[in-house]
Structures are given as structure tokens and as C-alpha cells.
């Protein structure tokens, strides 16, 4: 769940090796990392998922077609967006209005649900406008190739992403849990807190691709191995 392709929104479970040679769907090489404790919005996500499921179900198109076939549970934003985008594209703009789930029994629609609903009624770019800042960055990445300029920025710009130092009481359980989780993973660089890193040298050495830019918000850029090198593995 924690890794998400910023180009197409496909998500990968922590420890997945699928993404190591780039996103299998779109070939993107820019991913966003979402630690386990950042997925608390899975609730709204599940609702949104339901919404798009029922919307897609209305005309008999199974929404799960667009999900990953490896049985991993799709995360909120990317998969929902791609599922409903595809659905909307297939149905055309007229049917898209019908697909809005008016009969849903949820009296307090939150942001994620609103986002998903507006997706079904409009194209992908409008849906982006409803998102938070982070997701807007993701959304723009979804439609463009990362520019050299952004790569450059990624290696320098830390102020905007800087978070306040968490207090011990707050950070202890989160970091410990995260670290336990990561101990079983292939993780090669751990961000302990902004400016504090732990590196797994063997993992860094063993990976074919390498990280060329880190950002404090969990985003990172990897350089893709050459296509002809993949066969050698």
C-alpha cells in the first residue's frame, strides 16, 4: 500500500519488488511513499471505492478490472481515480451523470467521497482540484513527465516540505511500529525524522536502480535501469 506511482496512481504494497523496474502500468519512475500510519484515510477511501463500485456496477462494468491483478488491495486515491476515470471514459459524459450514487445512505459525505463523486461527473483534471496540495502535485505528475527542473528542485528544496519536529510522546509508537514493519522490508533508506537517515548499504548496493533524490514528504525519485539490463537479472 505505501508506494504509489505518481504518474498513473497505481499503488504497491510495502516491500513490493514490482515497482523496482518502474511502474508496470505506465513506466513511471516517480513514487510516493505513504507510511502505514498515513493510511488512516482508508475509511473514506473504502467508501469512495464502494461508490465507484456501485457506479460502475450500474452499467455492468466491473470496476475491479482496472485494479491490479496480483490481489493487492488498491489504495484510495490512485486506483479509485483510475477506476472511475476508465468507467467514465467508457460510458461517455451522458451516462456519467447517472452514475453519481444519489441513493447512498451516507449523510455526511467527506472530501474523499466528494472527490470520487465529482470524478464520475467530470474528467480527471477537475477532480484534482478538490484534492489537497500533496495530491495536486501527484496529479500533475500523473499527466506530465518529471522535468529536469523538478528533479533539480527535488534535490534542494526542503523548506517547503519540512515538518515540525515531533515530540517524543507522539513519535514513539509511530516510528517504532514503522521501523518494525520496515525491518522486514527491502527498505534501503529510512527517514527517521527530517534530516536523520538510516541506510542499508547492502540494499543500496544490491538494487539495480538507485535513488537520486529524496524529499522529506516521503517522495523520492529513482533512476531506472536501462531496458536491456532488465533481461540480465
Amino acid at each position: 500500500m505505501p508506494h504509489q506511482c505518481t504518474s498513473c496512481g497505481r499503488t504497491f504494497p510495502d516491500g513490493s519488488k514490482e515497482m523496482l523496474s518502474g511502474c508496470p502500468d505506465c513506466g513511471g519512475n516517480k513514487f510516493q511513499f505513504k507510511p502505514a500510519n498515513a493510511t488512516e484515510n482508508a475509511g473514506p477511501a473504502a467508501e469512495a471505492d464502494e461508490a465507484s463500485d456501485s457506479a460502475a456496477g450500474a452499467d455492468g462494468t466491473p470496476a475491479s478490472d482496472s485494479g491490479p491483478s496480483d490481489g493487492t488491495r488498491p489504495t484510495a486515491d490512485g486506483e479509485v481515480a483510475s477506476a472511475s476515470d476508465e468507467g467514465a471514459a467508457a460510458r461517455g459524459p451522458n451516462n456519467a451523470a447517472d452514475a453519481t450514487p444519489d441513493d447512498r445512505a451516507d449523510p455526511t459525505p467527506d472530501d474523499a467521497v466528494a472527490g470520487a463523486a465529482s470524478t464520475t461527473g467530470s474528467d480527471g483534471t477537475e477532480q484534482i482540484a478538490d484534492r489537497s496540495d500533496e495530491d495536486m502535485a501527484q496529479a500533475s505528475a500523473r499527466s506530465e513527465v518529471v522535468s529536469p527542473d523538478e528533479l533539480d528542485r527535488a534535490s534542494r528544496d526542503v523548506d517547503s516540505a519540512e515538518t515540525s519536529e515531533p515530540t517524543d510522546e507522539e513519535s514513539k509508537p509511530g516510528i517504532d511500529a514503522l521501523r518494525d514493519e520496515l525491518n522486514d522490508q527491502f527498505e534501503s533508506i529510512r527517514i527517521v525524522s527530517p534530516g536523520q537517515y538510516e541506510l542499508n548499504l547492502m540494499e543500496l548496493y544490491d538494487r539495480q536502480e538507485y535513488i537520486i533524490s529524496l524529499q522529506e514528504d516521503g517522495r523520492y525519485v529513482i533512476e531506472m535501469p536501462d531496458a536491456w539490463g532488465i533481461d540480465d537479472e
Partner: protein, 213 residues
């Protein structure tokens, strides 16, 4: 016709690159932070090309990107050895911005330096995997060489069958203990030197020519 000529040129360039036996060897200068890698790289580059490779500093992680100096021609015993030098960022398992705060650095700068240093370690490890033909491993002879980083890197270098020269640097400092480094890696030859003062550089160049020529 121009197109054909271009095509033929690029094909011959590719084949030259693949098969040339006298292609300069790319030698990575590796080691933990603050061992004197850049000081050594600058010393070699200045001695043989007149240029420097990069800025030196007492603050760890001054080198945060690998820097290359190509075509360094070293003359030894009447023959010339040409190498490309890659000065790599210091390799470590932990980077903490707090260590930079002691060097009169603002927190923002320290955090940025820390992040760049981490990227630098990733880059150094990547170079080790992909792009070097030999390694000059620089150690600070005033520090304990029995560290996880040194053991791991030397292990990787050995597993790759890369020719490696171990340099015990900073022999000009009072606490220097070259023997301790020789004991730590008995399977390799250890050459003492002071890259800062230029002490024993003759032997270093002789060994470079011998190992990487």
C-alpha cells in the same frame, strides 16, 4: 552519405567502447566520511593535471555527489598509466543533521546537507556496483578501522574481484596508527600517507600504476 558516415562513426565508437583494452580504468576513491578522499583526489589531480577535483572541508559529507576527473596520466618507471578518478561521497549507515550543527550551521542547512549526503551514499553505492574498475579505499589512520561500513565495503569490493588499494591516511596527525589498519585488512596491502602534506605520495603512485595500470 553524411548519414552513413555518422552511422559508421557511431557504430565504431560503440565497439571501441566495448572492446578497447587500453580504455582508462575508472578508479573509485571510497571510504567513510572525513577520511580524506577529496584531499587525496585533489592531490592526485593537482600533481598530474594541475586541476582540483572538489572542495575539501573538515565538516563531514562535504562531497555529496560523485566527482570525476578523467584522463589522469600518471608516469611511473618510464611508462604512463591513465586512469579516471571518481571521488565518491563518504559512505555511512547513519546521517544525522545534528552532527553538522556543531560546525556553526543553521538547522535548515544542516537538514539539507544531511539529505544530500544520504543521496550521495546511494550514489556511491551505485557507482560501486556499476561503474568502477578498481578502488582506492581511504581510511583515517587515527580512527578505529573495525567498523560495519569498512567491513561491508571491503567485502563488496572483494566479492566483485575489484583491485583495491588501502590507504592509511592522515599519518601527519599524532594519533595515527597505520598498523591497526594493516591488521584490520591483512589480505590487502596498506600504504601509509598524508594526502594533506603530500607525504609518501611516491609510493602511492607506484602502487596505483601497479594495481590499476
Amino acid at each position: 552519405m553524411g548519414l552513413l558516415t555518422n552511422l559508421r562513426d557511431s557504430i565504431s565508437r560503440v565497439t571501441d567502447g566495448l572492446f578497447a583494452a587500453d580504455e582508462p580504468k575508472r578508479i573509485g576513491i571510497y571510504g567513510p566520511p572525513n577520511a580524506g578522499k577529496t584531499t587525496l583526489a585533489n592531490r592526485i589531480a593537482r600533481d598530474w593535471t594541475g586541476d582540483a577535483v572538489g572542495p575539501e572541508s573538515h565538516i563531514p559529507h562535504e562531497t555529496r555527489r560523485a566527482r570525476r576527473k578523467e584522463g589522469v596520466e600518471i608516469e611511473r618507471n618510464g611508462r604512463t598509466v591513465t586512469i579516471d578518478i571518481v571521488d565518491t561521497p563518504g559512505v555511512t549507515t547513519k546521517v544525522d543533521y545534528k552532527e553538522f550543527l556543531d560546525h556553526d550551521m543553521e538547522k535548515d542547512d544542516a537538514v539539507r546537507r544531511s539529505r544530500e549526503a544520504t543521496e550521495g551514499v546511494a550514489e556511491a553505492m551505485h557507482w560501486l556496483r556499476e561503474d568502477v574498475d578498481g578502488v582506492i579505499y581511504v581510511l583515517d589512520s587515527t580512527s578505529d578501522p573495525f567498523t560495519q561500513v569498512n567491513t561491508m565495503l571491503i567485502g563488496i569490493i572483494e566479492s566483485q574481484d575489484l583491485p583495491a588499494l588501502i590507504l592509511a591516511n592522515k599519518t601527519d596527525l599524532p594519533g595515527s596508527d597505520v598498523q591497526q589498519i594493516a591488521n584490520a585488512f591483512p589480505q590487502h596491502e596498506t600504504i601509509p600517507l598524508s594526502a594533506l602534506e603530500g607525504d609518501n605520495m611516491d609510493e602511492v603512485y607506484t602502487k596505483i600504476a601497479e594495481y590499476f595500470g
